[in-house]
C-alpha cells in the first residue's frame, strides 16, 4: 500500500477517500450502455456478414486468380475423402473443425466460417445480418459523436482519458501493480486504464467506423480518400475485422477487471454514476 500511496501523492492531489463520489457523468453512462448493446449486436451480425465470404484480403480487390488472401475459414476435403474445417492465415492452414470453417453436429455439420453460436441469426442469413448490423451501426456512431463532443466540452477527455506525462512515467509501476492484482480505487483512472480507454475510444472506435464506411461503394464516391488511407476496400475490410478482434479482447479484459475490482461497486458507478473509493484505513485494495 505504501507504494500505491507514493504514486498517488506524485500524480495528483489526494482525492476524497473511502467516500461515495460521483464518478461517471450521464453522457459517459448513456454512451457506455448504448455501445454495450450496439457492439453485442454489431459483433454477432458482423460475423454473420463475414460468413457470407469467410476470407480476408490485402488490397483493392479480392484475388480469385492471384494471391492476396491473408485469412480464410473454409471446409476442405483431404486426400482420404474426410472433410474438415481449416483456418488459413498467411498461407498456413490449421485444422479448426468444430469452431472455424466447419461446425455443428458431427452427423450434420455446417460449412461456415464462424459457428452458429457466434452469429445472428444463428443460421446463415446475410440479409438479416446486414439489417441488424446497419441498424446498430447508426446507434454506435451516434453514441460516439455524443461522447466525443460532450467529453471535449466537459474536460473528461483531457482529465480522464488522455494519459498525462505523469501517467506515462508511472506506467511501469501501474503495470507491475496490475500484474500483482494490486488495484487502488480512488475514482480516477491509472495510466494503464487511460491507455486502454484512449486506445479504444480514440483509436479502435474511429478506425472501425471509418473502415466500415470505406466498404460502402456510395461512400467511396463521397470520400474517395478513405480508400487511399486504408489501402483499398479489401484492406479496409481486413482492418475492420482486426478492430473487431481488438474490441473482443478489450471486452474480455474489461469484464475481467470489473470482476477483479469489485463488480457491484463498478456496476453501480456505470449505472448510477456513484462510486465508493477505498478508505484510508481500509487496507484491502479491492472493495
Amino acid at each position: 500500500m505504501t507504494i500505491v500511496d507514493d504514486i498517488e501523492s506524485r500524480t495528483a492531489p489526494q482525492p476524497d477517500e473511502g467516500r461515495v463520489i460521483y464518478r461517471h457523468r450521464i453522457a459517459t453512462r448513456v454512451t457506455h450502455w448504448t455501445w454495450a448493446i450496439a457492439l453485442f449486436f454489431l459483433l454477432l451480425s458482423g460475423l454473420q456478414i463475414f460468413n457470407a465470404h469467410p476470407e480476408l484480403y490485402i488490397g483493392k480487390q479480392s484475388g480469385f486468380e492471384f494471391e492476396n488472401s491473408v485469412l480464410s475459414m473454409r471446409a476442405m476435403q483431404a486426400g482420404d475423402g474426410s472433410v474438415d474445417g481449416y483456418t488459413t492465415v498467411f498461407g498456413h492452414s490449421f485444422k479448426t473443425t468444430g469452431v472455424f470453417g466447419m461446425s455443428g453436429p458431427a452427423d450434420n455439420p455446417s460449412y461456415r466460417g464462424f459457428p452458429a453460436w457466434a452469429t445472428l441469426p444463428s443460421y446463415q442469413d446475410l440479409s438479416t445480418g446486414r439489417v441488424i448490423h446497419f441498424f446498430f451501426a447508426w446507434f454506435f456512431v451516434a453514441a460516439f459523436l455524443v461522447w466525443f463532443v460532450s467529453s471535449l466540452i466537459s474536460g473528461h477527455l483531457k482529465r480522464d482519458i488522455l494519459p498525462s506525462i505523469a501517467d506515462i512515467k508511472a506506467l511501469p509501476q501501474s503495470f507491475a501493480d496490475h500484474l500483482r492484482f494490486r488495484f487502488h480505487h480512488d475514482g480516477r483512472y491509472n495510466g494503464l486504464q487511460k491507455f486502454a480507454y484512449a486506445g479504444v475510444l480514440l483509436g479502435v472506435f474511429p478506425l472501425i467506423i471509418l473502415t466500415g464506411l470505406t466498404m460502402s461503394p456510395g461512400m467511396n464516391a463521397a470520400w474517395p480518400w478513405l480508400l487511399d488511407i486504408f489501402g483499398g476496400r479489401q484492406t479496409a475490410r481486413t482492418i475492420h475485422f482486426l478492430c473487431m478482434a481488438a474490441l473482443v479482447a478489450f471486452f474480455l479484459i474489461h469484464i475481467f477487471m470489473v470482476v477483479a475490482a469489485g463488480p457491484l461497486n463498478e456496476m453501480r458507478s456505470i449505472v448510477t454514476g456513484w462510486y465508493r473509493t477505498d478508505g484510508k484505513k481500509n487496507k484491502e485494495p479491492s472493495a
Binding site: 465470404h53 484475388g63 452458429a116 440479409s127 446486414r130 461503394p217 456510395g218 474517395p224
Partner: protein
C-alpha cells in the same frame, strides 16, 4: 499478502458466476424475432431508409466513384448469381448471338422505344474501369463499356411522374416451392442518371460474356452487385415499385435484402 489471497478467492467466485451466464447468450434465442417478416426485423430494416437519405444528402448526385488504371485489372470479372440462364426465350436469342435482341423502354415515357444491340453500340459510349463489390464481401476490378442510361432515358423522354427505373431480366431464379422467379431490379432516377450508370455490352475489351449478363447489364457503380441487373430484357419507368414481385423493388429485396445497396 493475505489481502491478495482473499481478493483472489473473491475474484474466482465472481468470475465463476460471470462465466455461468455465458451459455445464456446463445444466438438462436433471437432467431424467431429476426425471421422473415417479423415486425422486429421490419423495424430494424427501416434503418436502410435513413442510410439512403443520409447518402443522398452527403453524396453529390453526380459524384463519381474512383476509376482504376488498366494495370489494376488482374483477373476476369467474377460472375455470381445467374451465370448461364436456360430460359427458352433467352436461349433463342443466344443461339443467334443476340442478333434479334431488342431492349424495350416502356412505362412512364413520352416515347416508348426499343433498340437493337447494334443501335445501342452506335450510341455515345462510356468506358470505365471500376470495382465491383458483391454483397457477400468480395471485390473485383474490371473494365466496362456501354451506353449511359441517361442517354436512353432522354431518347424515351421520361415523364415527370416517374420515380424509378425497373430492370426486367431474362434470367429466372429457382426458389423451390415458388418455382422459377424472374430477376428484376430497380434504382432511383438519381442513380439512373448518374454519369457512371451505363448499360454495358462490353467487359474487359470483349463482348459482355454470358456469365456476366450478355447481351446487356447495368452498372450502378455506387451500389452493390445485386443492384446491377444482368440479362436485361427491358427497362420500365414507374412511379411505384409495388406492382413488381413482392413489391420490395427487386429479386433479392423480396428475399430480405435492403433496397438501397450503397452500403
Amino acid at each position: 499478502m493475505s489481502t491478495f489471497i482473499v481478493n483472489r478467492r473473491k475474484f474466482l467466485t465472481l468470475a465463476g458466476v460471470a462465466a455461468a451466464t455465458v451459455p445464456l447468450s446463445g444466438c438462436d434465442a433471437f432467431d424467431t424475432l429476426l425471421s422473415g417478416q417479423s415486425p422486429v426485423r421490419n423495424f430494424l430494416a427501416s434503418a436502410n431508409s435513413l442510410t439512403y437519405r443520409a447518402h443522398r444528402m452527403l453524396i453529390g448526385n453526380d459524384t463519381l466513384v474512383p476509376e482504376f488504371a488498366a494495370s489494376e485489372i488482374r483477373q476476369g470479372q467474377r460472375p455470381n448469381g445467374s451465370t448461364d440462364p436456360t430460359d427458352a426465350d433467352y436461349l433463342a436469342l443466344k443461339d443467334t448471338s443476340f442478333a434479334d435482341y431488342r431492349l424495350t423502354v416502356s412505362g412512364l415515357v413520352e416515347r416508348p422505344v426499343s433498340f437493337s444491340l447494334d443501335e445501342l453500340r452506335n450510341m455515345p459510349a462510356r468506358t470505365q474501369i471500376t470495382r465491383h463489390d458483391c454483397v457477400e464481401g468480395w471485390s473485383c476490378i474490371a473494365k466496362w463499356t456501354g451506353v449511359p442510361l441517361a442517354h436512353i432515358l432522354d431518347e424515351a423522354k421520361v415523364k415527370s411522374q416517374a420515380r424509378f427505373v425497373v430492370f426486367h431480366c431474362y434470367d429466372t431464379m429457382n426458389l423451390g416451392l415458388q418455382g422459377a422467379v424472374p430477376y428484376y431490379e430497380s434504382i432511383d432516377l438519381i442513380d439512373a442518371r448518374h454519369p457512371q450508370t451505363i448499360l454495358a455490352y462490353g467487359n474487359n475489351d470483349k463482348s459482355l460474356p454470358v456469365a456476366n449478363g450478355a447481351p446487356l447489364r447495368v452498372r450502378v457503380e455506387r451500389q452493390l452487385g445485386y443492384k446491377m441487373a444482368k440479362y436485361i430484357k427491358g427497362i420500365e419507368l414507374v412511379s411505384t415499385l409495388a406492382p413488381f414481385g413482392s413489391g420490395k423493388g427487386g429479386f433479392w429485396e423480396d428475399l430480405g435484402y435492403d433496397w438501397y445497396g450503397g452500403i
